[in-house]
């Protein structure tokens, strides 16, 4: 019997289309990108694609503060934003779990930000934070809390803050929804047992509710880690890295070096660093998820 007629070959045949697409659109370009990162390729000079420079691009970016500052800023941004999203999401989930009236409506409303295009979220907050016509400044001035126009998107620190707000607005609901699903799935017995044993509310939360919720938090983290680079869209529309590079993050830097300065070799080297970072991040949370599942004794 030929290989493809055997029962054991069926799953591989079923997976072939998926593998082929991924190979053509992701694996092959990534290999090509790896090659390009070792050349001095410039978009304006096609022949430079064969101009092998070894590790020069990597050596340059690793010693260049113009790379390290946006890199550090990206790490800082993600750390702050993900922690705020987790804590806010947890708070919202616990709150909605407690209330009975209108719970379904609240859950539906909560899903909406997830469905906004990141570019749209960026535009929305650019409109809201506009120093002249934005609703934030208008409200502050009408309430008498500020007399001048606060330059939300013009000052470096404030712009960074505004971008973080947009990001948190967009993604908190991923955490809230999944943690709420976890709370719904939670068995009642351990909670009652804890009450009988005299645990207070905080102890019950810390030792029973939170460990049970962690796998759900890790799913949320894993889902989020797949698309952290969506911050590129938000930054592009809100400040485009400005003012004077103060909100430049890794991904906007890649776009600028690759397309605007047409230094493709260099941009590919940066892109490789960011790709490895993203993959490690996803892998880490996937491992955490598997471990948490084992701890819960879930089906393997």
């Amino acid at each position: 019997m030929p290989f493809w007629r055997r029962e054991s070959a069926t799953p591989f045949l079923l997976l072939t289309p998926a593998m082929l697409t991924m190979a053509f659109v992701v694996v092959f370009p990534l290999v090509f990108s790896m090659y390009t990162s070792f050349t001095g390729f410039r978009l304006t000079k096609p022949a430079s694609l064969y101009d092998w420079v070894g590790f020069r691009n990597y050596a340059r970016i690793l010693s260049d503060p113009e790379f390290w500052i946006p890199f550090g800023r990206t790490v800082l941004f993600l750390t702050v934003v993900l922690n705020v999203e987790f804590l806010l999401g947890l708070g919202i989930a616990l709150l909605i779990n407690r209330i009975t009236w209108g719970q379904r409506t609240l859950r539906t409303i909560m899903m909406f930000p997830m469905m906004f295009s990141p570019i749209l979220v960026g535009f929305m907050f650019k409109f809201l934070f506009n120093d002249n016509i934005g609703i934030v400044n208008n409200a502050l001035q009408s309430l008498g809390l500020s007399d001048g126009a606060i330059p939300w998107l013009v000052d470096g620190k404030l712009a960074f803050f505004s971008i973080a707000i947009a990001e948190v607005w967009m993604s908190t609901s991923v955490f809230a929804i999944l943690l709420l699903a976890g709370l719904f799935a939670m068995p009642r017995d351990p909670l009652e047992a804890a009450k009988v044993d005299g645990c207070n509310a905080w102890q019950t939360f810390r030792h029973i509710t939170l460990p049970f919720l962690m796998p759900f938090a890790y799913i949320a983290m894993a889902i989020r880690s797949l698309d952290v680079a969506r911050a590129y869209d938000i930054v592009t529309v809100m400040t485009d890295g400005g003012p004077a590079g103060r909100t430049e993050i890794l991904w906007t830097l890649i776009g600028r070096v690759g397309y605007d300065n047409s230094r493709m070799g260099m941009a590919n080297a940066m892109a490789y660093v960011s790709t490895i970072l993203s993959i490690l991040f996803t892998w880490y949370f996937y491992r955490k998820l598997v471990a948490a599942r084992r701890y819960m004794g879930g089906a393997q």
Partner: protein, 289 residues
């Protein structure tokens, strides 16, 4: 006695307080979106007015007429073609991704094979490659192949973007269907293929629809790749078109708000239709895997 009544009233007060707090939070979450929607129905002058006009004084559909080139006053941005491009690209890539994802999801849910965990993890990790990082090599390769600035070029990219997540969701939905059902059908004389279409597919249909909505929205909302792989009205999508407005000399806030409404309304309707299945799919796929 009175102590019991008192503690009951205080409980009710607390509960009412929590409900109020939750709804307040939701209002805060909705304000940014609502403000943009409100502004889409105002003339630009009212948006720029000082002191601010909070409630629209003369609501109008002019902004929508303008961006679709229907009124006397026209915008240079062909939103109508962008809308059609977005629709064609998102729909086609969703259908293809669903077909591929159903085959893959079925393989993961129903078969044991070598390297299963590794292949699954590999698919997920490839999905984690940032769009802008992937766009660099794809841009160069697509240029050589001559599919830059075509709908086809973008469709191919979106299919592969959606395949991993679609497989993940559909795998979760197939797992929830007891294996005994399809086995019983096979004992009764169905082939595995027939059992799939008669038993498993109808049972998983709502879940597959949810996965489809997710794929559609990913394509509909994507920006990083689209902004580099499209150039003209033949393939530009709505998110890329939204940025066209900022390239103009004066920002047409009202026009942008109207375009934002055009982008968000289909997404909201779809989400509303499948929200229940979406949450179930995300959690089952992950926890009970």
């Amino acid at each position: 006695m009175s102590a019991v009544v008192e503690s009951q009233t205080s409980k009710q007060v607390k509960r009412a307080g929590l409900t109020a707090l939750a709804f307040l939070l939701m209002v805060v979450m909705c304000v940014p979106g609502l403000w943009v929607v409100l502004s889409a129905f105002r003339p630009n002058g009212e948006i720029l007015a000082k002191p601010p006009v909070w409630v629209p004084e003369n609501p109008t559909f002019d902004n929508f007429r303008k961006i679709f080139g229907l009124g006397t006053d026209q915008v240079a941005i062909p939103v109508g073609s962008y809308f059609m491009n977005s629709l064609i690209i998102a729909l086609t890539s969703t259908l293809i991704a669903l077909a591929i994802g159903m085959a893959g999801g079925y393989a993961f849910a129903r078969y044991r094979f070598r390297g299963k965990g590794g292949i699954f993890l590999g698919l997920m990790l490839f999905r984690a490659v940032p769009g802008i990082a992937l766009s660099l090599p794809v841009f160069i390769i697509w240029s050589k192949l001559g599919i830059i600035d075509t709908k086809l070029g973008l469709i191919i990219v979106y299919v592969s973007l959606n395949v991993p997540f679609t497989i993940w969701l559909i795998d979760g939905f197939f797992r929830q269907i007891p294996l005994s059902l399809s086995e019983a059908a096979q004992v009764d004389g169905c082939t595995r293929w027939q059992a799939f279409w008669k038993i498993e597919f109808p049972l998983a249909r709502s879940g597959i629809a949810a996965a489809g909505v997710f794929a559609f929205l990913t394509s509909w909302n994507e920006f990083a790749l689209a902004s580099q792989l499209t150039r003209s009205t033949t393939s530009k999508t709505l998110p890329v078109g939204l940025l066209d407005f900022t390239a103009q000399f004066t920002i047409d806030w009202a026009g942008m708000c109207a375009m934002a409404v055009i982008i968000i309304v289909p997404a909201l309707i779809l989400t509303f239709l499948v929200q229940k299945h979406l949450i179930a799919g995300l959690t089952f796929g992950g926890v009970k895997g």
